[in-house]
Homo-oligomer: 412 residues x 2
């Protein structure tokens, strides 16, 4: 029996490029080439034929055929059945990713909401379940129930789960997969809930920071239009950030990168649950914005409605939040010289009121701003980004290392 | 006639791993394999034989022999002349990098000092020239004179310069190679000076941020002991930072990453030459420390001596500088979750007084600090790091793409 959960560490993530740095070892050569062919199918604009894949990958036609047969058997690709072109010889059929093959179960656990989805290998969302206002002791049971419904529905659609991933706002211990620091989340019992979710799907479950997953989702959704290096703010009660640097998701030493909400903006300022003072989330988190607008007990989701209604106290609170975000982001941009800042999570909806005060701080504080300034814009995926990122992280593992999926898959 | 200078952009840096991501194109295959063999020689603990290189690279013995012959002809490697082991058949000789082959000219231009060196392919410093207290209009002439002396001496040692690189504290325009923002440096005439230096060596000259080069030098000097991800502070009058993330030098969109000195520490605080307020360099730069100690006109180099002598005003100024550094570094570490912070430049010598107040801020402000905190320590290379990094960046280009060196090299 395998341990049901594992943390997705940067160091053990399979990387397609690794095999090319040196000699391909015998055992890994087939794995490398399977991934090469599968990625070529995934990246193709039109369904490629076996010959097309041979040309694209530099492998021989015979090698490609053998690899494609393995991918077909494992339901990673399927034939379109439509000959890709007429000509002499046997007609060739096009290959596409198989939407009836492995699927990823993505879960998000946040202070105010829960979300679960099942995504197939083509990236299509096949099942989606969300719940709001579920904080407190029953939250983990509610998450397991959502997951159970989603797994049942995935089974009805004959999808084979290849894994599950949970997005959480907090630091995960890379050794044990447990949440370490969760000032905004009741994490008791999380291990038990994860084990129950893993048992539902008969799969392992990874746990990762939600901001990191949301940034990966944004990158995937934008495809070749994604900025090369960007920071994606994940604004909720806390504020996380996902970092894509030079096209790669950056996780940091323990997977703890992106703790933007605890960057000091006003030293000696408001005390924070983390033990420090002047943290960004005390000025620009959802709870902080409500508090500044004089209504700390209102629903978190009411901020945008009240700003749209032109409530002066809320507009002032958002301007202050934008200023604090701008100070923190100017620091991040001075350090990292990024192409873009993406406002995600709850901050995506608040972008109309946040972008201007953020940009005012960048003009003032960012070296080189007079010559070139990064774009500041809302996320394309809005509130779904972390949940989708979790499901896609499962599928990325299949795409990066199809050989593992092929050998893990139950026979029959 | 080629344009004599170019900026080392992240996007055009040759990467050994690139060829492995997909099929190697015919034209690039030899280039890839030449680099593979040269890097294997560079990385070997003992001089490898041709057979050893074949085993290490996965190439055939015949391919390796042909590639080694090319590298020998281009003086990139040489034979030790000592058989690596006895046995049947022809004795094999070991191969090492050729210290009489291509060399890199590294220059550093800073507010208070100039430095020039010539480094050979093995990393040995063959020529070193420095000058202090040379700020002002004559500074660029002094730099050209130092470079001229160094080039002459390299010629006497029969070294062939493969290029030159200049380390500067400031932003370089990636399109034109010109300095854009140099609040602390008189940059007039820099283009002319660079052209003169390039002419001296008959080579092209790159220009890059000194903090980035210093971090690369630290990484190279530490070899396999280098932290996987670290930030290296380059403290002078201004404060830059070099970033190595997941083992790779990170430059950012324009090569402007690491502007730590302009991270806002105290919003609304001291005005800065960059137009902002509360910038780190106004609290922790050399000039700021002298000013805080009540002696703004003293020599920059006097800070450590006065601290060693126990002067109370200087000790208080250093404690405040350390606090400001700690606030800025806690922000960087919350974002990047690094293994280490390295204090370089003038801050290397000041580490005995800075480390404690920095760590106090990290304990307070860094999420996860209770579980795991990064090391904070002085640079191993001290003040030479940027100059060495400049020379090594030239040699990195040769090691990454020896085919270019072989084809550029004058015949005969």
């Amino acid at each position: 029996v395998r341990h049901p959960f594992e943390h997705h560490r940067a160091t053990d993530a399979p990387r397609l490029s690794a095999a090319g740095d040196g000699p391909a070892r015998t055992g890994s050569l087939r794995a490398h080439n399977l991934a090469l062919v599968l990625r070529a199918v995934a990246a193709a604009e039109a369904p490629p034929s076996r010959s097309g894949l041979a040309a694209r990958t530099g492998l021989t036609r015979a090698s490609v055929s053998g690899l494609v047969d393995d991918l077909l058997a494992g339901r990673l690709v399927r034939e379109t059945g439509v000959p890709t072109r007429s000509g002499v010889g046997r007609p060739s059929t096009g290959l596409v990713l198989d939407e009836e093959g492995p699927a990823g179960l993505g879960l998000e656990l946040n202070v105010d909401h829960l979300a679960v989805c099942v995504v197939d290998l083509t990236g299509a969302v096949r099942v989606r379940r969300t719940a709001h206002g579920t904080s407190g002791p029953g939250q983990l049971d509610a998450l397991v129930t959502l997951a159970s419904d989603a797994v049942t529905e995935a089974g009805e659609q004959r999808l084979a789960l290849s894994g599950a991933a949970l997005a959480v706002p907090g630091l995960v211990d890379p050794a044990t997969g447990e949440l370490l620091v969760t000032p905004n989340l009741d994490a008791a019992g999380l291990r038990g809930a994860l084990t129950r979710v893993a048992g539902l799907g008969g799969v392992r479950i990874m746990i990762e920071n939600e901001a990191t997953l949301a940034a990966r989702a944004e990158q995937r959704a934008l495809g070749s239009a994604a900025p090369r290096s960007f920071l994606q703010v994940s604004g909720e009660v806390g504020i996380g950030a996902g970092l894509v640097l030079d096209g790669q998701l950056y996780r940091g030493r323990h997977g703890w990168s992106g703790e933007l909400g605890h960057v000091t903006v006003w030293p000696g300022g408001r005390g924070c649950g983390c033990g420090s003072d002047g943290c960004l989330e005390q000025y620009a988190g959802q709870q902080a914005i409500l508090r500044a607008a004089g209504s700390p007990d209102d629903a978190l989701g009411s901020i945008a409605d009240r700003a749209r209604a032109g409530e002066p106290g809320m507009l002032a609170a958002l301007a202050d939040a934008g200023e604090a975000l701008g100070i923190a982001l100017a620091g991040a941009l001075n350090l990292l010289d990024l192409d873009a800042v993406v406002l995600g999570g709850a901050h995506a909806e608040l972008a109309p009121w946040l972008v201007e005060p953020i940009e005012a701080q960048l003009v003032r504080r960012l070296v080189g701003a007079a010559v070139s300034r990064p774009v500041v814009r809302p996320s394309t995926l809005g509130a779904d980004a972390a949940m989708l990122g979790a499901a896609w992280s499962v599928l990325d593992r299949v795409l990066d290392d199809p050989a593992r999926w092929l050998s893990d898959e139950p026979s029959g």
